[in-house]
Structures are given as C-alpha cells and as structure tokens.
C-alpha cells in the first residue's frame, strides 16, 4: 500500500513539474522572449549572471568554512622526519595553488557577471596580445621550476640509500593481512622462496639458510624512535601497498619485485597518545592498492618504542624456527641442494 502511495505521489509530482514546465514555455511565448536570440533575454541573463556571482561568494564562503572546520580531522598526526619535509612542501604548494585558485575563480565569475549581455553594448574585439601571452607563459613556468626543484630535493632525500645502521624489517603483503619478519641478532634476513610457503611458514623462509635461524615474526611491528627503519617490502600474491599514514610512508608490495622504503620515526606511541589525548591511539598500517575482497581490512599495528624499550622487546622475541621446530624436518639435504641450485640459476639469470 505504502509503495503504491509513494509511487502515486511521485507520479503526481512529475505531472505537476511537467505542467509547470509547459506553463513556463507558454508564458515565454506570450512575453515574446522566445522571439529574441537565445541568451539575450533580460531576466534570464540577469538571474544567471547574478547566480554566478552568488555561487562565487556563497561557494567561496562554504569552502572556507568547511576547510577550516575539517582542518583538525584532515591533518593526521605526524611522526616521521621526512613527513615534516613533505608536509611543509605540501602546504607551501597548497598556498601557491590556493592563490592562483582564488584569483582565477574570482576573475571567472566576476567577468561572467560584469560582462553579461546588454542590447546596446558591443564586445571588445581583442584577438591576441603576444606580450601578454609571453608573460603568462613565463610566470607559471618559473613557479613550476621552483616547485620542481623543491620536489627534487625532497624526493632525492627520501629515496636516498638507507643508512647502514637502519633497523631492517621485512613486510610481506598477502590476501588479506601483513606478515612481518625481523632479521634477529645476526641482522640478516634468511633467504625466502615462494615455493617453500605453506600454512605455517607463510613467508616461505628457507630454514636451510643459517641466516634464517634467528629470524622472528611478531604480530605487530615495533620500531625504535629516532633510528632509521628500513622496510623491505614484498608480496606473495597480488600487488598490495604499505601505507603508514602517520609516517607519510607508502610503497607498493609487488610479487616478484622487492621494494623498500626507509624512514625515521620521531614520536613513540606513548608520546603520541599523550599528544593526541587519545589513550587508545595506535599507529596503523593500511593497504592502498586494490587487492581483493579484504582490501579495506588489512590493518596491522605498528608500535614506536623508546630505543631501550625496543631492545628489550627484540630480546624477548623467540625465533620463528624455535616456535615451530617441526618445520626443520622439511629441510632435508635434498631441498638444500635444490635451493642452492635455484640460487645459482638465479645468479646466472641476473648476470645475463
């Protein structure tokens, strides 16, 4: 019944709208406005050009208000060194484009209002002015050059080689979670191979490699404050992307092509909790490359510790192979040979 009523009222509404439209058309014929060239009728020109001006003023005010209102929410707390550089470059660029935005929009709508059609008026025949063209080609060119140089400098710093003493962490994306591996006391990650992956050994670590014996795989990432952290990023199925919004870190995880990103955290989780006044605050890792059904749910926690706390945390971790000693039985002499063979084959490939 209700659907019928809604349907009927919609039909009625449409009929009324249609009648209004017909009446409007007939009225314009009566007034004779349909005899004039389109766009030269007085009222519609006045109304539309006034609306243009209103749009500029009202829209500008709404934009300014909503921008200010959203300011706190849109600025994610910052917790890395290079994030400071990119944030300041971002807002500097925003100011530059903001100035251009304001000037051009004002001119656009103001001209539309001011130069609306008048019967007795004639437009100014002004086909070109080479000087003007050169000026407004050069100005954006110079501004762009400055922005390019600023961008180059920042980009080069961010993508420079990680310091040798960086804490190395392997992050592997899979549908739909993250796997993390630390190199352990020796500071070296053991070899891994996609063919060794099974339900327990999710990263496919090769435990015939002595370097892998002390590798551990925690359930959350811990990093020390103030020390460089190098993420070695991989994927085992489709492309994912490591995104740490508070650290301004993003790098794709590509199957078959390891990637990396290094950064220096500047605030511990505890500091950030007191700063934001949110005792539940956690640094989060999200996926930003579409990867399937669970793309929106690849959440992982990252904790920034004071360096001492971090050392304690590392010391408290048990190597993965100690937790899962049954894995070792898989690595008989045969597989060792095979892995060695595969490795040498790979070397040949890279030489080629």
């Amino acid at each position: 019944m209700i659907t019928l009523a809604i349907g009927l009222s919609i039909v009625l509404l449409l009929v009324i709208l249609f009648l209004l439209f017909r009446i409007g058309t007939l009225a314009s014929i009566f007034r004779g406005s349909s005899q004039r060239a389109v766009g030269t009728t007085k009222t519609s020109n006045k109304v539309n050009s006034l609306l243009m001006l209103l749009f500029l003023i009202g829209g500008g005010a709404a934009f300014a208000w909503s921008f200010a209102d959203a300011w706190d929410e849109m600025n994610q707390p910052l917790a890395s060194v290079h994030g400071g550089w990119t944030d300041s470059l971002f807002w500097t660029t925003m100011i530059v484009i903001g100035i251009v935005f304001v000037i051009t929009q004002i001119l656009l709508f103001w001209y539309s209002y001011k130069y609306q059609h008048k019967d007795q008026k004639r437009a100014y025949y002004y086909p070109h002015n080479n000087k003007l063209e050169i000026v407004w080609t050069m100005i954006p060119a110079v501004v762009m050059a400055i922005l390019v140089f600023a961008g180059w400098k920042t980009w080069a710093n961010i993508t420079s080689a990680a310091p040798a003493d960086a804490v190395v962490i392997e992050v592997m994306g899979k549908q739909f979670s993250w796997l993390v591996r630390y190199p352990g006391a020796d500071g070296k990650l053991g070899e891994a191979n996609v063919h060794l992956i099974d339900a327990t050994n999710e990263i496919g670590v090769d435990f015939s490699d002595p370097n892998s014996m002390d590798d551990f795989m925690p359930r959350e990432i811990h990093v020390p404050k103030g020390k460089p952290v190098l993420l070695k990023i991989r994927s085992r199925d489709v492309i994912h992307s490591v995104f740490l919004p508070h650290f301004r870190v993003k790098m794709d995880a590509v199957p078959g092509m390891p990637t990396k990103f290094w950064f220096v955290p500047t605030k511990t989780t505890a500091e950030m909790r007191s700063e934001t006044g949110n005792s539940e605050f956690n640094y989060e890792l999200a996926c930003t490359e579409i990867c399937g059904r669970g793309h929106f749910a690849m959440r992982f926690i990252l904790v920034v510790d004071e360096p001492e706390e971090y050392e304690e945390w590392v010391a408290s971790q048990t190597p993965f192979i100690e937790q899962n000693p049954q894995l070792l039985t898989k690595f008989t002499q045969d597989t060792k040979d095979q892995v060695v063979l595969e490795k040498s084959a790979e070397e040949v490939k890279t030489e080629l």
């Binding site: 439209f21 766009g39 050009s49 609306l51 909503s66 929410e73 990119t86 470059l89 971002f90 660029t93 484009i97 935005f101 051009t104 929009q105 656009l108 001209y111 539309s112 130069y115 059609h117 008026k121 437009a123 100014y124 025949y125 002004y126 086909p127 063209e133 407004w136 080609t137 390019v148 961008g151 180059w152 920042t154 980009w155 961010i158 996609v194 992956i197 990023i233 085992r236 199925d237 492309i239 992307s241 919004p245 508070h246 993003k250 794709d252 590509v254 199957p255 078959g256 092509m257 390891p258 956690n282 989060e284 930003t288 579409i290 990867c291 399937g292 059904r293 793309h295 929106f296 959440r299």
Partner: protein, 608 residues
C-alpha cells in the same frame, strides 16, 4: 575521396520526410547501418548517454555504501539480488562497482560518447566536407563499439560478477580468478570488450585524421580551423598512437590468463599453492597501461577544450583570445601527454631517478594548461556574454578545470604523491579535472549543437535548472573529498571504520553521498529535456547562436552531404565576432573580405 561521390540530387532530405518510401535508402541504411556522419554521431551520443546513466547509477550504489556503511540495503535486493548478502553489499561486488564505474565513464562515455559524437558530427560540418573520408569505416567504428558495449553490458549480469580489479586492471589481481571472483569470466569479457573498443577507436581515429587533413573545403587552411577541429584532430592522433599500446597490454594479459605465459606474473603463492609462473613483471603492465592511460585523460579532456573554446568565443561575442597560443598549448599538451605516464607509478618501486624525470615532465604540463585558462578568461573579459545553457556549462567547465587542475601540481610532485597516492585526494583531483569538467564540456556541446543535430532547440529554462543543480552538486561532491584525501583515506575501500586513523569524516561522507544523489537526479531533468526537445522542442533557425563556423551555413536539418548546393568557400578565421565596423556582431567564415570592407583590418585589405 569517396565522400565527394555522394550524389546530392538523390540524397537531399529533411527529417520530416522520414516516411518517404520512394527514397532509395531503406530504414536500416538510413538509421541503423548508416554511413552518414551525422547519424553515426547521434548513435554515439545515444550510446554515450545510456552508458552515462549506467555509470552514474553504479556510483550511486557505492556512494550509498560509503555514506552509510552501517546501514542495511535490503531495499536494493530487487535490483542487485545475490550481491546483497544479509542486507550488506558484497565487498567484491563493491569493487566490481567501482571498476565498472571507472571503465564505463572513462572509455564508454567520455571517450566514445564524447569524441564519437562531436568528432563525427562536427569535423565534416566545420571543415566543409560532405562526409567522413570513409563512411563505411565510420559505420564500422560505431558497430564495433556497439559490440564492445554489448559485451561489457553482459558482464554486469554474470554470476561471478563483472571485472573487479579496478579500472586499471593491474595484474596479478586481474590475472588470477583465485584472487577475486571478478577476475574470472567478468575479466575475460572486460578484455574482449576493450579489445573491440580499441578497434573501434582506431577505425574512428584514422577517419578523423584523414578527414581533417584531406577534406577541408577551399580556403580552409589549418590556421582557419575552428579550435574544435584542432582539438578533435589532436585527440585522434593521441588515440591512434596510444590505444595500440593498451591493446598489446590487454593481449599479453589474455595470454597470461589463458595460455600460461608469465609476462606479468612471478613468484606467486595463492589459494594454497605456488604458481609456476616466474620472471614476469607486474610493473611492466602498469607501464603499458599508463602509456595509454595518461594520453587517455587528454583524449577525454582535449575535445572539451575545443568545444568550450568555441562556445565561449561565440557567446562572449568575442574572438577567442590567442588563437595560435590555444593551438600551441594543445600541441604542447598532446606532446607532453606521452612522456608523463609514470607519474601514476611513483610509489610502485620504480627507480627514484625516473620519478624525478617524470615529476619534471609532469609539472611542465601545468604551463600550457595555465595558458589555456588565462586565454579563456581574457576571452570573457569585456565580452557581451549571452547566458545560453551551453555557455553556462562552458564557464563552469573552466571553473572545474581550474579547481581540479591545480591539485595536479601537487600530485605530480613525487615527494607529495607518497602520502596522497591512491587516496581520495586523487579521486577528487581527477573527478574534477577530467570527470566533472569533461562532462560539463560534453553537456556544453550537446546544448550548443542540439539545434544542428535535431533541428530543434533544447528548453533553456530546464537547461538552467539542470546546470545549476549539476554544478552545485559537482562541487559539493568533489571539494570535500580533498579533505578526506589529505587525511589519507585510501580509495577503493569498502569501509573505513576498521581503522582508527580513518574512523572520522562519517558525516562528511554521508553529505557527499547525498550531494551525489542530488547530482544524479538532476540528470533526469537533462534526459527529459533531451528526449522531449527532439520531438517537441522549439524549432531552430539555421544559425540560432549567431555563430561563425560552417555548420551553421547548412539547412536547419542538413541532409546527406550536408550542403544542398556547393560547399561554401572559407575566407576568414572562425572568430570574427564584434569586429569594429561590421554591421552584425559576427561575420561567418564563408563571407569574403570584399563584402566586409568597412570592418577589414589593414592586412586584410589585400585579401579583398
């Protein structure tokens, strides 16, 4: 030069003698498998509008999910059936929705619907040709596109769902049905459809280029061409050079999917087993895709540059400011569009040095784009502006193009792209600059050339209502998305509530969805106006906008061959508006200088 063979005596007809059975063209030849560029243009237009509504509707469904992530959508069950599970939208279907929205809007509406309509319709009419260089190829172009459309449309209804790996279809996700159900039959259909689509684009593109080069009427030199034609010409060249690269990417992906090759696949463990594929590069696909993908956004926006320039000049009653600078900037943009593709890939692990190079090349594009905006502003300055609906859409186009274009300066900067890549900032940027702006350019073109297409006027009052609602909602939808993007909200997320960092802006997301629904509803006004005016609109005069270009010298309903008599000769550029000394405020291109002695400029006296 097949078009010159068309016999005029046989073919002159008007829309009102549709039922003339003595005519030697039957219904199918005239309206279905027509080789007349005007009919083909209308076919592309109808198809584009159809796809526009489908694409828009899909976006409304996923906006419902994003605006009210906690709500239950049982009321959508009648349309979506099994894709609603316990009142919730299936997350994979959500991904399929965004994928199909992107594919449909970028390719089927803003490439085929836009270029297909206006290149076909305007090139012969504005350069003074009887038809396209090859009417038959032109017809094929539409029907191959139609086939592509049918296949893409079918894929919406299959059990495993349409393609769901994003409109960029990055492998391995798009290559492995185990990874997402949309990569099964849905992706196969997507690839077949796109392959056909590319064939259609190439057939069309070759035709546009050939026609512009060879079939210009007497006197129509390249520097007397309306900017629309320059824009369509360059668009066709871009398409011709870049679409084959997408074709190769699609072909290689088909091989990877169906024939066990490893072009894009390597070291993959999925669904409990390690795949044998090795040595492929997932990044290679992205390079191939974006080698088309970036020119593609200019394929979308260049035609609207032309349309908007033409409409602004006509309705400001002023010559377009800096005609040659406008052509130069379009040439510059076209050239640069081929060397910026990797700015979509700054954080894919590509060599950082390449990132620097592509940042530099990308930001250069801002220069010709800025020149275009300044020239449009200078054209409005001291004009005598007629607010036709088309003109309003053109002004709004410039506004949207500025708003969306400026943020490109931020995203093109690789250092800033780290944080913003794949966030709503990107969504806001490209929806403003190539989504909304291109749609506004398209509406601008439809309102402006409707009288020439159908011999009747669209209703201006309804046009104004349509315009203001659309303009308002375009900004209400996409401006707030910048805030969400600066906060780092990732795109293609079914819901953000799982993250503490993204658990904000819920009200703003509902607001955006409401604005989107408003914007979509406003399009129904357009649809009504469009259909109603085809049959019942006020009859148009031959030149209702007092415009200079050649299409307005044809009869109200131009027949096959466009001009009943001889094709007019062109003497002047198309922008002689409000020339001092002239009787009227416009002098059409076919008026010789000898007839306008009072308004001729000193250097034009020699041409008398």
């Amino acid at each position: 030069m097949s078009s010159t063979d068309i016999s005029l005596n046989k073919d002159v007809h008007h829309a009102h003698d549709e039922h003339d059975h003595h005519h030697d063209q039957n219904f199918f030849e005239k309206y279905i498998f027509s080789q007349d560029h005007k009919v083909i243009a209308k076919q592309f237009l109808f198809a584009g509008i159809f796809w526009g509504f489908i694409g828009g509707f899909l976006s409304i469904i996923f906006r419902l999910q994003l605006g009210w992530p906690e709500a239950t959508f049982t009321f959508l069950e009648p349309i979506l059936g099994g894709w609603i599970v316990n009142g919730k939208l299936d997350p994979e279907f959500y991904l399929a929705l965004v994928t199909m929205h992107g594919t449909i809007m970028v390719f089927f509406v803003l490439t085929a619907g836009l270029s297909g309509t206006f290149s076909n319709f305007l090139i012969p009419l504005q350069i003074g040709a009887r038809d396209m260089a090859s009417g038959f190829m032109n017809m094929l172009s539409f029907w191959v596109f139609f086939l592509a459309s049918v296949i893409m449309f079918m894929s919406l209804f299959i059990e495993t769902g349409p393609a769901g790996g994003g409109w960029t279809v990055y492998p391995p996700l798009s290559a492995l049905p185990q990874a997402i159900s949309g990569s099964g039959l849905g992706m196969t259909l997507w690839l077949i459809s796109m392959a056909l689509f590319i064939v259609s684009q190439l057939l069309g593109g070759v035709n546009y280029i050939t026609t512009v080069i060879n079939l210009r009427t007497k006197g129509m030199s390249m520097t007397k061409l309306p900017l629309t034609i320059w824009a369509f010409f360059l668009t066709a060249i871009l398409g011709l050079l870049s679409f084959p690269v997408l074709f190769s990417a699609a072909l290689l992906l088909i091989f990877d999917r169906s024939f066990g090759t490893s072009f894009f696949l390597s070291d993959i463990y999925i669904a409990g087993e390690a795949l044998a594929n090795t040595g492929g590069s997932a990044i290679l696909f992205q390079h191939l895709f974006w080698f088309l993908g970036h020119p593609e956004v200019y394929i979308v926006i260049l035609p609207t540059f032309g349309i908007v320039s033409e409409v602004i000049a006509t309705n400001s009653r002023k010559p377009i400011f800096g005609y040659r600078a406008m052509i130069g900037s379009m040439l510059g943009i076209s050239l640069l569009s081929f060397v910026v593709w990797a700015h979509h890939m700054f954080v894919t692990g590509m060599n950082p040095f390449l990132g620097s190079v592509f940042m530099f090349l990308t930001l250069i594009i801002a220069v010709p784009s800025a020149v275009k905006v300044f020239n449009w502003l200078a054209t409005l300055w001291r004009g005598n502006i007629r607010f036709t609906t088309a003109m309003m859409f053109a002004i709004a186009f410039v506004s949207l193009f500025i708003s969306g274009g400026l943020t490109g300066i931020i995203l093109g900067n690789s250092a800033l792209d780290i944080q913003l890549h794949d966030t709503y900032f990107v969504i806001a940027h490209f929806h403003l600059v190539m989504g909304a702006a291109a749609f506004f350019g398209m509406f601008c073109g439809i309102y402006h050339w409707f009288p020439k297409m159908f011999g009747r006027m669209m209703d201006e009052k309804l046009g104004f209502v349509h315009f203001w609602l659309t303009f308002l909602s375009a900004y209400l939808v996409f401006m707030p998305m910048h805030y969400i993007g600066i906060a780092g909200f990732p795109r293609r997320y079914y819901s953000w509530t799982g993250f503490d960092a993204f658990n904000t802006f819920t009200d703003l997301n509902s607001f955006i969805s409401i604005a989107a629904i408003l914007g979509f509803t406003a399009q129904l006004i357009f649809l009504f106006n469009f259909i109603y005016s085809i049959f019942k609109g006020r009859r148009a005069t031959a030149n209702p906008w007092h415009s200079n270009t050649l299409e307005w010298t044809t009869p109200v309903n131009p027949g096959h061959g466009n001009w009943p008599g001889e094709i007019p000769t062109v003497y002047r550029w198309p922008y002689d508006y409000s020339k001092p000394g002239a009787a009227e405020d416009y002098i059409p291109q076919h008026v010789p200088f000898s007839q306008t002695q009072s308004s001729n400029l000193p250097y034009e006296r020699d041409l008398e």
